[in-house]
């Protein structure tokens, strides 16, 4: 579905990545490895780079309604209600069926009852839900999530991961998640793309063949998590290696 073949970009080098339709792909890397840049190229927010990026066979020339974006901050418009924010991307003349889509997606993210609340009245998790609904209301073909839960507390984060999984299964949109959380990457992704730092490049692609819903405590899950952990920290640096 996507393919990005990179020459040298300020942040990325020799990236070659293809995402299939309906797939959930996690991209993981330490901060500054260019994983967000990669996502922004696919979103069409970065256009100044060498290489080719395609979406559904067409070169990406800018942003498009076929790609929804959820940022780390909720980025809701403070002067609009939740419902108006979710409807933002539907244009000026929101039709009856558009409003149906809006309400359906408010429902989907579990914000019913908060349609007329303003962003400052929402908690961090609720605001991020609204921002997911806004990105989905246009029914994009792909949803790009740029560290969407990075600013949430640990408990809300786990809850939101489960929500996103449910939404992915229901909406059947392709999802591309950028994260620095190993657990999150394994819990959600069909494959986990590990990026390395300086130059920002793909180090390894690890398929996750575990059935969903995934048990974070299961042997296979922890094995995968350790394997990815080992990609970032050499074996002898592993803090628990001798502590057990």
């Amino acid at each position: 579905m996507f393919s990005v073949n990179g020459g040298t970009v300020t942040a990325l080098q020799d990236i070659s990545l293809t995402v299939r339709q309906g797939e959930f792909v996690s991209i993981i890397g330490s901060s500054g490895c260019g994983k967000s840049t990669l996502l922004r190229i696919i979103a069409g927010l970065e256009t100044d780079y060498q290489g080719t990026a395609q979406f559904e066979g067409e070169p990406i020339r800018g942003t498009g309604l076929d790609r929804g974006v959820v940022f780390q901050e909720h980025r809701l418009f403070p002067w609009l209600t939740v419902r108006q924010n979710v409807a933002f991307g539907l244009g000026n003349s929101t039709s009856e069926s558009d409003w149906e889509s809006v309400d359906e997606h408010i429902d989907l993210v579990g914000l019913n009852g908060f349609e007329h609340a303003y962003p400052h009245q929402l908690s961090g998790g609720m605001a991020q839900r609204a921002s997911i609904a806004r990105a989905l209301a246009n029914r994009p073909r792909a949803l790009l999530l740029d560290e969407p839960f990075g600013a949430l507390d640990a408990l809300t984060k786990i809850q939101m991961q489960e929500e996103v999984l449910r939404i992915w299964q229901k909406e059947k949109a392709t999802m591309l998640l950028v994260t620095h959380d190993i657990d999150e990457a394994v819990f959600l992704g069909d494959q986990v793309i590990i990026m390395s730092n300086r130059p920002g490049t793909i180090k390894k692609i690890i398929p996750v063949d575990l059935p969903r819903p995934r048990d974070r405590g299961s042997y296979e899950f922890t094995q995968l998590r350790s394997a990815i952990y080992a990609e970032f920290f050499r074996q002898e640096d592993k803090p628990f290696a001798y502590a057990i």
Partner: protein
């Protein structure tokens, strides 16, 4: 003391529910309690009382520093003939006309310079230079150009209103959160939609701040305009009081300026809070 030290060694932090309650909010003090909004009135009322007492005791000279009751008398006397209402109407009309002209021009210009970088680079340095001219310096020029009639007064007020509105709106437009603009881009808004749906609403708080300080300057300038030459208006009333040696008339005019300045500001403040209240912003 040694006892409490032993306690801290056992447990570093000890909290009981009573402590938590105390942190949540101060318990209301029993007895008489003044509403918070009225608290600001305490000092002025006290001052007026002291003033009145000093005047009655003959410590303040009646012709230089008339007592509050004497000023109220003057106000009543002026009101009786309908003369005062006419002065107020003239001043209000001047402030509002000047305000509307100045604010409108500032809004249009800031809209243009804010959205077109080329025009901004061309125009903004000149605006910044004009801004640093003390506004009273325009007075002789406006008098020369437009004479002593209404137009020179309104022009002066407009100039005063113009700059705060222009500067605040422009900085509001230029400092719009680029992250919100990016959301507009993600949803493929064209330039005009971006301005209307993202940039203008985002700049609204600083615009309102600009309008309020513009109005404040408008009141300042109407005094100057009416002092420099007028036959009606509160500023004229002050000059008249000075010429005829009636301090009470001057002070009565000052009180009226304060009153109407505050009232018009209140209108803007309320309108602003109505517009911004749902953002969790208070002007």
């Amino acid at each position: 003391m040694s006892n409490s030290h032993e306690q801290t060694q056992e447990s570093l932090v000890t909290l009981t529910t009573a402590d938590v309650e105390a942190v949540r909010g101060p318990t209301p003090s029993p007895g008489f309690k003044l509403p918070r909004q009225l608290l600001g009135l305490v000092l002025p009322v006290l001052l007026v009382i002291v003033w009145e007492l000093l005047a009655r005791a003959g410590i303040l000279a009646a012709n230089w520093f008339p007592a509050p009751f004497a000023i109220a008398d003057t106000l009543l006397e002026l009101m009786r003939g309908g003369e005062l209402a006419r002065h107020i109407a003239y001043t209000l009309a001047r402030v509002l006309t000047g305000f509307l002209i100045g604010a409108l021009a500032a809004t249009l210009l800031a809209g243009v310079t804010g959205s077109m970088p080329l025009v901004r680079r061309l125009l903004d340095p000149t605006m910044q230079a004009l801004r640093s001219i003390p506004s009273m310096a325009w007075v002789p020029l406006f008098l020369l150009w437009m004479g002593i009639h209404e137009s020179s007064k309104i022009a002066l007020i407009s100039v005063g209103v113009f700059f705060p509105v222009y500067l605040n709106l422009l900085s509001g437009i230029l400092t719009v959160d680029s992250k919100l603009v990016e959301v507009g881009q993600v949803f493929k808004l064209d330039k005009l939609q971006l301005v209307r749906r993202v940039i203008l609403p985002a700049a609204l708080p600083s615009y309102l701040v600009g309008l309020r300080s513009g109005l404040g300057l408008g009141w300042m300038f109407v005094v100057a305009a009416e002092i420099m030459g007028a036959s009606r208006g509160l500023g004229f009333l002050m000059i008249d009081g000075q010429m005829t040696g009636r301090a009470s008339v001057i002070i009565a005019s000052i009180v009226l300026f304060a009153l109407f300045g505050k009232l018009t500001d209140l209108v803007l403040e309320q309108a602003g809070n109505r517009l911004l209240g749902h953002r969790g912003v208070v002007l």
